[in-house]
């Protein structure tokens, strides 16, 4: 099952808004360091984009396609490569129409070798092109992961700034439906440990457009983790989002739903589950704040901590495996930065610790479901229907 209990800390339940109090027995946090923390955790300026009175709907697939199209039109050094991206219009049709428009030099159908085309993409980036490398799934990217990490992520550092690698690695990540163990793993935590990489996890069409454009324009290597099941989902998009210069900042999370009782963090497909769980919880008097992480590296610690300092409770949700996962990092961050604000132990919801089974019933048990999020949230609220005690 996917629910886990944490050790119960001896936490005072008084309201700890304001200055962090020092206690004997905590790790000694001396004054200058605290000063750093408070400086760092400045209130999050609301540069967040809200949906304006949106009239248009757009699928994530179209969002990605339009973003690619616009960036390729604006910058002739941007090109796409991968298996089936050209003639076949993309294994998931993300690159539809691009071959016709830009020709085979800029939409390259590659032979089947992830190691090969990942390396080639990096080499092209060394020399000033801006490749967007598509993996049919990030599970297959493992065959080229040496190039992602040793050739792309570390190059700027190892070459002392002489070689930057403006490359984007994109493709579906995480679970789909009934595709088994070698097509279902979430690699967010893997890539997010590597200094030199940026790791993005779009959820909505707005995320897809804004983050992909930002990724392509970024001078550093970006791992762009999409989700197959989200490709066909429609989201409202404002005119601002549709503008060809629309970019979202890398490293900033979005508060998808404001709340005061508990903070739920999620990324990619799990954001929709978290939002649905929040609706269910609302009926039971629990007002949940849902954070769409958008970026795993850099992780928006400021937004997460500001939220937890407000709600005093945290539940993290991810499809990936629990150990050393994204939730582990978020919990550690919150415990480090906002320990005194927590009214309950932190909870992680993650995928079961098994290679993903194929059978539909088993697969359902292997990944977090909406009910799991609801139950965990109630637990951290001590099943209390009223606002914080």
């Amino acid at each position: 099952m996917t629910d886990f209990r944490q050790k119960v800390f001896d936490v005072k339940e008084e309201n700890m808004l304001g200055l962090l109090r020092q206690k004997v027995g905590l790790r000694g946090l001396s004054a200058p360091v605290i000063g750093d923390y408070t400086q760092r955790l400045c209130p999050v300026a609301s540069a967040m984009r809200h949906y304006s009175s949106a009239t248009k709907q757009m699928t994530v697939r179209d969002a990605l396609n339009s973003a690619l199209n616009e960036e390729m039109a604006a910058d002739s050094s941007v090109f796409v490569m991968g298996e089936e991206v050209g003639e076949y219009q993309g294994a998931y049709k993300i690159t539809k129409g691009l071959l016709d428009k830009y020709g085979p030099e800029r939409v390259v159908d590659t032979p089947i070798t992830e190691a090969g085309f990942t390396g080639i993409g990096v080499g092209a980036a060394y020399h000033g092109l801006r490749p967007v490398v598509e993996f049919m799934t990030f599970n297959f990217a493992l065959q080229g992961i040496d190039h992602i990490i040793n050739s792309a992520a570390k190059s700027n550092y190892m070459s002392a700034g002489q070689i930057n690698v403006p490359i984007v690695f994109r493709g579906p990540n995480g679970a789909a439906a009934g595709v088994g163990a070698q097509h279902s793993q979430c690699f967010a935590a893997w890539y997010a440990t590597v200094p030199g990489l940026k790791v993005l996890v779009p959820y909505s069409a707005e995320d897809a457009r804004g983050l992909l454009k930002a990724a392509i324009r970024d001078p550093d290597p970006v791992v762009f983790l999409e989700n197959e099941l989200l490709y066909g989902e429609s989201f409202p998009v404002s005119d601002e989002v549709l503008d060809s210069n629309f970019c979202l900042p890398i490293g900033k999370a979005k508060v998808e739903r404001k709340g005061i009782d508990v903070t739920i963090t999620a990324y990619s497909k799990m954001v929709s589950f978290a939002l649905k769980a929040a609706e269910i919880l609302e009926k039971e008097g629990i007002n949940a704040e849902v954070i769409n992480l958008r970026s795993i590296r850099p992780l928006d610690r400021d937004t997460i901590n500001a939220s937890v300092r407000k709600t005093n409770r945290l539940v993290t949700v991810e499809e990936g495996f629990r150990q050393h996962g994204v939730g582990a990092e978020i919990c550690a961050t919150v415990v480090e930065d906002s320990f005194g604000y927590l009214d309950a132990p932190v909870e992680r919801i993650a995928g079961a610790d098994v290679p993903t089974p194929y059978a539909a019933n088993l697969e359902r048990f292997a990944f977090p479901q909406i009910e799991d999020i609801v139950r965990a949230t109630k637990r951290v609220c001590y099943k209390s229907a009223a606002a914080n005690a």
């Binding site: 200058p32 360091v33 750093d36 760092r40 030099e105 390259v108 590659t110 032979p111 070798t113 190691a115 090969g116 085309f117 990942t118 390396g119 080639i120 993409g121 990096v122 080499g123 092209a124 980036a125 060394y126 020399h127 000033g128 092109l129 490749p131 040496d146 190039h147 040793n150 050739s151 190059s155 700027n156 550092y157 190892m158 070459s159 002392a160 700034g161 002489q162 070689i163 930057n164 200094p195 030199g196 940026k198 970024d218 001078p219 550093d220 490293g251 850099p298």
Partner: protein, 439 residues
Amino acid sequence: MAAAANAMNPTVGPTTLHLHGLLFVPHCMHIGNPATILFALTLMQDMDFPGGKISFTTTKSFLPGSSEERVPCYRVLDEEGYSSSNILEHVISKEVALKMYSGMVTLQTMDKFFYEAQRQGRLSFYLTSFGEEAINLASAAALSIDDVILAQYREPGMLLWRGFTLQDFANQCFGNNAGHGKGRQMPIHYGSKNFNFITISSPLATQLPQAVGVAYSLKMDKKDSCVVAYLGDGSSSEGDFHAALNFAAVLDAPVVFICRNNGWAISTPVTDQFRSDGIVVKGQAYGISSIRVDGNDALAIYDVVRSAREIAINEQRPILIEAMTYRVSHHSTSDDSTKYRSTDEIEYWKTIHSPITRFRKWVERKGWWSDKEESELHLDVKKQVKHAMDEAEKQEKPPLRDMFTDVYEDLPSNLVEQETSLRETIQRHPQDFPKDIPL
């Protein structure tokens, strides 16, 4: 089936026909009568398979794994320094020849002293190119400065030719502040954007698909230059080798792959590395023109690399060069090769087949070099190398800031925090930190 039945049936023979697919062929096809096979063959058609026409044969034969005769090795200078090619003699000017020669001597001298420095504990690691100086300098001489080099690690002569000074080499190896590398990489992992030499990377063969990517970029720029990627015999076993060659051919990439087949991959001899006739035959498997050359013959290397470069640029296709040589060096300072090969073998290659000696004989015979110049050169280079090492050692180490920069283009906030935190800790506990790090 029907054929077997017919074969035993006395009513069939050279004049009777058997339905073979849509064709009627004489029954003699199954008996193999030479006279009638010819007749039958004219009835056979080619087949338009995906990928092109292929003609059929009734002879079942397996292509041999290797041909009886190994691919011969192109050579110009013999062991005594006599050139077999008059034309080539006139292509290389005295200036170029002497720059090549002194480069080879400089490389060898630098290697000797830097290796010793590691043994004395002044350097953490070093890797020499003994015995492969001709490949280094002659191929460098045949290229233009616009050709982008992706080397493996035994090709520092390329940088030397292009203008990297002994001081530059020393600074990188000693990891000091003056080094272009900001102390980031281990010794011999040189790189220079100015000299179009991509920073050396440790994982083997990764530079090969990268080279194809760079070539792809050059192609799109329509530049009059190519990419040159080096690899050793061992690297040809890596998956990246196959992906790179295949891709280069498919993409019509202007890459020249130069394989230094020096017989050894640390302790693995080539007989344990592959079963093919070296690396030259592998090019054909990918549709790439290839050539085998004597890697210890500076003139042959120069000639072949120059031609390969022209083909790659003018015809926009990859070329594979296999340069046969011998790794006189230990693999690196972490290796003692006498543990797995005989000292006699090493000595033999070091003396009898020294590429430096052979080339010297040629330049001397041309009247361009003498014993006097030889001893002057050796003295001069020795002095310069020692001076470079001493200076490099005296230089400051890179400052603390350089630990955190260049991870990304812009310094991210978490690294700013970490650096601040580290500085404060050093201030509070100076006794816990080394004194020689500039803050």
